[in-house]
C-alpha cells in the first residue's frame, strides 16, 4: 500500500509533455488600460530589463581592454589618418565624433560591392558579435578589419607598424603598454594586396609573421580599449528607467506621455521586445527579417557568410592572438556551425542612439524611423511571406496594423533612446 501511494505521489509530480498549442501571447498588455508613469507589472519589470549596464561586459580576449593607457593610445590611433593606405582616412572619418559616430552613408565592400551602413559606436562594447554579419567576435578584431579592407581604409599592417615606429609619441605609448615593437627591417612593402597575402609576406618565417601579427593585434586592442569608453550619453529613457527603478513617480512623470505610450506598444502590441530586449535593446543575434533586396544587396549572405569568415580567421577569440583562447567567447565561436537558414540574416540592431544615425538597416535601405516601423508593422518593403512561400526568414513577423498615433508614439519612444533632438518627422 505504501509503495503504491508513493508511486502515485511521484507520478503526479512528473511533468508531462503539454499538448502543443499556439503559444500564449506575452504579457497581457493592453494599451486601453491607463498606465501610470511607473507602469504596472509586468510592464514595469519588462521596461527595467532594458536598463543600460553600468559597465560594458568583460572582454577577457583583450587583457588591455580596461587599461587607461591603452585607451589613450587607442584614441590617438582612432583619428590617425596614417593608418590608411592613402593617408586620408581614419576610423573617425566614418565614425564621426560630431555626428553620433556615424557618417550617414553606406559603403560598398567586398567582392560583390555589397553596401553596408556605418553603424554607430555608442556603447559598441556591449555587442556579442561585431559587424552586421557577425564576422568579428571581439571589438579588437573588428577594429582591425576596416584598416586592411580594400574598400575602406585600404591600409596594411606593415605600413601601420612602420608608421607607429616612425611616430615618437605613438611608439613611446605603445612600448610602455605592450613592450618593444618587433624588428621592422627588411620587410616587404605590404602584407596584403587586393585581399591576398603578398609574396613577400608569405616568404617571411612563421615566427616573424606571428610577431608582426601580434603587434598589429595589439593596436587593435588599444583601439578597442578606447572604444570601450565610448559610452553614449544618458538619454531621456535612461532617466525614466532610473526613476522607475527608484519608484520615483515625479521624475517618471517627466518622461513624455507619447514616449511612454510608445514604450507600452514596444513591450506589448508591437512585440518589438521579442528581439530588441536587454540593455542594448538587441538580442545580439541574427535574423532575416525579410528585407526586399535586388541587385547587389541580394547577394549579401549576411550571417551565413560571416560565420564562414569568422571560423577561419586567425584573429578570432579562439586564435593565438587572443588573451583568452579557451574562454567563453572562443567557445561560442568554435561552436558556430554553417547554417543556410542564416543566409541573409543580419544582426539585430541596438535601438539606442537612432536619432542622427540614419539611414537604418544593414544596407541603409530605410531612410527614417517611420519607414522602419512600417516595415515591421505593415510589412512595407518586405518580401512576401506566409503560406506558399519559403521557410526562410523570420516566421513570426506578421502584420501588426498600428494607427498613425501609435506610429508617432513608437517613434517618440525610439527617439527618447537618443540624447539628440530629432528633426520633425516628415509627413507622408
Amino acid at each position: 500500500m505504501m509503495v503504491m501511494l508513493l508511486l502515485s505521489l511521484l507520478a503526479l509530480t512528473i511533468v508531462q509533455d503539454p499538448p502543443p498549442s499556439v503559444p500564449t501571447p506575452s504579457p497581457a498588455v493592453t494599451d486601453e488600460k491607463e498606465q501610470g508613469p511607473l507602469l504596472d507589472e509586468p510592464l514595469r519589470r519588462l521596461a527595467l530589463s532594458l536598463r543600460r549596464a553600468e559597465t560594458p561586459p568583460e572582454d577577457r580576449t583583450n587583457r588591455f581592454a580596461d587599461d587607461p593607457a591603452a585607451a589613450q593610445l587607442g584614441q590617438l590611433l582612432f583619428s590617425d589618418v596614417e593608418l590608411s593606405g592613402d593617408g586620408k582616412i581614419s576610423c573617425a572619418t566614418c565614425h564621426r565624433p560630431d555626428q553620433q559616430l556615424v557618417d550617414g552613408k553606406t559603403h560598398p565592400r567586398g567582392f560583390n560591392q555589397i553596401p553596408r551602413d556605418t553603424p554607430t559606436l555608442h556603447d559598441v562594447a556591449g555587442h556579442r558579435w561585431w559587424g552586421w554579419d557577425g564576422r568579428w567576435d571581439s571589438l579588437w578584431m573588428q577594429a582591425l578589419g576596416p584598416i586592411e579592407e580594400v574598400d575602406e581604409m585600404a591600409g596594411d599592417r606593415l605600413q601601420v607598424l612602420r608608421h607607429l615606429a616612425a611616430t615618437k609619441e605613438l611608439l613611446q605609448r605603445y612600448q610602455a603598454i605592450f613592450g618593444a615593437l618587433p624588428d621592422l627591417a627588411s620587410l616587404p612593402e605590404r602584407a596584403i594586396e587586393a585581399g591576398e597575402a603578398t609574396t613577400g609576406w608569405k616568404a617571411l618565417s612563421e615566427a616573424r609573421r606571428r610577431q608582426l601579427n601580434r603587434a598589429f593585434t595589439n593596436i587593435g586592442k588599444a583601439i578597442a580599449a578606447y572604444e570601450r569608453t565610448l559610452r553614449g550619453p544618458a538619454t531621456p529613457f535612461d532617466h525614466y528607467l532610473e526613476a522607475l527603478a527608484a519608484s520615483d513617480s515625479q521624475v517618471a512623470a517627466e518622461y513624455p506621455i507619447s514616449a511612454r505610450r510608445g514604450l507600452i506598444l514596444f513591450l506589448g502590441k508591437a512585440k518589438c521586445i521579442r528581439c530588441h530586449g536587454g540593455p542594448m535593446l538587441s538580442d545580439g543575434e541574427f535574423h532575416d527579417t525579410g528585407i526586399l533586396t535586388s541587385g547587389r544587396t541580394a547577394r549579401d549572405a549576411g550571417r551565413y557568410g560571416g560565420i564562414q569568415e569568422l571560423r577561419v580567421h586567425p584573429f578570432r577569440s579562439g586564435g593565438e592572438y587572443s588573451d583568452d583562447p579557451q574562454g567563453d567567447r572562443a567557445s561560442r565561436t568554435e561552436r558556430l556551425q554553417r547554417d543556410a537558414a542564416l543566409w541573409g540574416a543580419f544582426r539585430t540592431s541596438s535601438l539606442r542612439y537612432l536619432v542622427g544615425t540614419a539611414p537604418y538597416f544593414h544596407d541603409g535601405g530605410m531612410a527614417d524611423l517611420r519607414s522602419v516601423i512600417r516595415f515591421y508593422t505593415w510589412r512595407q518593403g518586405a518580401r512576401p511571406s506566409g503560406a506558399g512561400h519559403s521557410h526562410q526568414g523570420e516566421t513570426m513577423l506578421t502584420r501588426i496594423p498600428l494607427t498613425r498615433q501609435e506610429e508617432d508614439d513608437l517613434i517618440h519612444f525610439l527617439e527618447s533612446l537618443s540624447a539628440v533632438e530629432s528633426s520633425p518627422t516628415p509627413d507622408d
Partner: protein, 161 residues
Amino acid sequence: MTEFDSDPSASSESPGCIILVLVVFSLLTGLLMLLFFAGCQAPPTAVAPQGPGWKSLISADGTYQVMLYIPDPTPLNQEFTAQGTVFKDGEPISEDVEVVFDGGMPQHAHGLAVPVETIRRPAGGFAAAGVRFHMGGRWLLTVDIIEGPHLERARGWVEIR
C-alpha cells in the same frame, strides 16, 4: 510487488480515524524512506524532480526518463548550463550512452543561436554549457538519448515571460 491492502485492521471504537492515522503514518514513513534512500539508490521505476528548475521528461516510447535542470526563473539572454541525468528503468544510463541536448523555437523556425555541445557526466549525468535563450516565448527542449544505432527523443517545453 506489494499488494494494495484494502482491508486495514480496524479498532472497535472509531475505525475511520484509525484508518486515517494509519494512512498518514504510512505516507510519512514512505517519505522518510524516500529521503533516506534518495542518496543511496534511485527508486525502481521513477525519479522525483529535485526542486525548482528541475523537469522530468519521458522519452517518446517511455524507455528513458530525463531529469533536466533549467534555472528557474528561466534566464533570458544569458548563458547557462543545462544539465541533468538520464535514467533507464530507474537506473542511471551507462557511460557508453550518448546524450544530446538542444533547444529551439519551432513557432519561429529557429534553434539556439549558438549551438551547444553536450558532455556526459558520471552516473547518467549530462551537461550542455552555453545555452542561451535569446528570445522570450516558448522554447522546445529536446534530449536525444543514443544507444548504439538507436536514438530516442525526450522533449519538453519551457516558457520565458
